[in-house]
Amino acid sequence: MRYLTYLFLGTFFGVVMTKSEAISWYRIQEMFRFESIHMYGIIGTAVVVGAIGVALSKQFGWRTSEGKEWNLKPKDFSVPRYLFGGIIFGLGWAMTGACPGPMFTLLGQGIWSIGLLILSATFGTYVYGVLRDRLPH
C-alpha cells in the first residue's frame, strides 16, 4: 500500500517534469546560456516554496505520517566534495540535458538511448564507490 503512494508520487513528478519541459535538453541549454527565465523560474519557485514550508515545519514542529521528525538532517560541512562533485555533475548535466530524475522520465517517453545513459550513470556511481577513499571529501 505504501509503495502505491510512492508510485503515485513518482508518476505525478514525471508528469510535472514533462509538462514543465524541465526534462528537455533544449531547456537545459537555454538555462546555461542565460537565454530564458523558464528553468530559473521552476527551480526558484520550488526553492522559495520549499524554504517557506521547511521553515514552517520547524516553527510548528510538523511531524511525518508516523509521528516522527521530518528527514531534514543538516549536511556535514566540507568544500571539496560538494564543489568538485558538483562541477563533474554539472558537466554531465549540461552535456546530456538530464539529471537523475528526468533520466527516468525520458525513458518513459520512449527515448531508448536514455537506457544506456542510465547504465553509464550507474557505472559512474560504481567507479565513485571504488575510488571513494582516494578522493577528497
Binding site: T45, A46, L91, I114
Partner: protein, 193 residues
C-alpha cells in the same frame, strides 16, 4: 480543462508542484533525492561484495526505486496519453544558437521526441561519435559527480537549498561552474564532431 493539463505549464506552477512533491516525501518520512537510486542499483547488482560503499541495506531504499519507476510511468502518460500540444517554445537566442551549431530545432525530426535533438538521442546516434560521447561520458559524469557531491538537482538544489544548507549551495555553485563550462566551451566542439 484538457488544454490546461496538456500544457505546457507555467514555470511557477511547475515549481510549486515540485515543492509539493518534496513535502509529500518529507511527510512520508523520506527525502527527495533521485541520485541515490544509482547507488541502490549498484548494490542490487551485487557491487556490495567488492566495494564497501555499496554494502548497505538497499531494501530500505526500495521506496525510492518505486518513486523512480513512477517517474518513468509519468513520462509515458504525459508524453503519449496527454501530449504537449506544441514543441518546446525556446527563446529566439537559443534557436539561433541551435541553427549555428547545426542542431535540429525542437519538433523538427518527425517521429522523434520534441524534447531532445535526434542527432544526440535518436537510436541511430549511438552509432555516431557525438551521440556516444554525450550518452556514455555524459552519463558517467552524472553518476560519478552526483555521488561525490552527495546529491543532484533534487537533493541539493531543491531539498538542500530549501533547508538552507550551505553545502548544497556549494554543490549548486559547482553544478553551474560545470554546466557553464560544458555549454559554452566544450559542447560546441562535441556538436561539430
Amino acid at each position: 480543462m484538457y488544454d490546461l493539463i496538456a500544457g505546457p505549464w507555467h514555470w511557477s506552477v511547475s515549481g510549486l508542484l515540485i515543492a509539493l512533491t518534496m513535502f509529500a516525501l518529507l511527510y512520508a518520512g523520506k527525502a527527495f533525492g533521485f541520485s541515490s537510486n544509482l547507488r541502490t542499483m549498484c548494490s542490487i547488482a551485487g557491487a556490495g561484495k567488492r566495494v564497501k560503499f555499496f554494502d548497505f541495506d538497499w531494501k530500505a531504499q526500495r521506496w525510492n526505486l518505486v518513486f523512480a519507476g513512477g517517474a518513468i510511468l509519468g513520462g509515458f502518460i504525459a508524453y503519449y496519453l496527454i501530449p504537449n500540444p506544441e514543441p518546446v517554445q525556446l527563446s529566439a537566442a537559443t534557436l539561433n544558437y541551435l541553427d549555428e551549431a547545426g542542431v535540429s530545432r525542437p519538433g523538427s525530426t518527425p517521429g522523434f521526441s520534441s524534447f531532445a535533438p535526434a542527432e544526440l538521442f535518436g537510436i541511430d546516434s549511438l552509432l555516431s561519435l557525438k551521440g556516444l560521447i554525450v550518452i556514455i561520458i555524459g552519463g558517467f559524469l552524472i553518476g560519478f559527480g552526483t555521488r561525490w557531491a552527495g546529491g543532484c538537482t533534487s537533493g541539493h538544489a531543491i531539498s538542500g537549498l530549501s533547508n538552507l544548507q550551505l553545502p548544497s549551495l556549494i554543490a549548486v555553485v559547482g553544478f553551474f561552474i560545470g554546466g557553464l563550462t560544458m555549454s559554452w566551451l566544450v559542447l560546441p566542439f562535441i556538436l561539430q564532431l
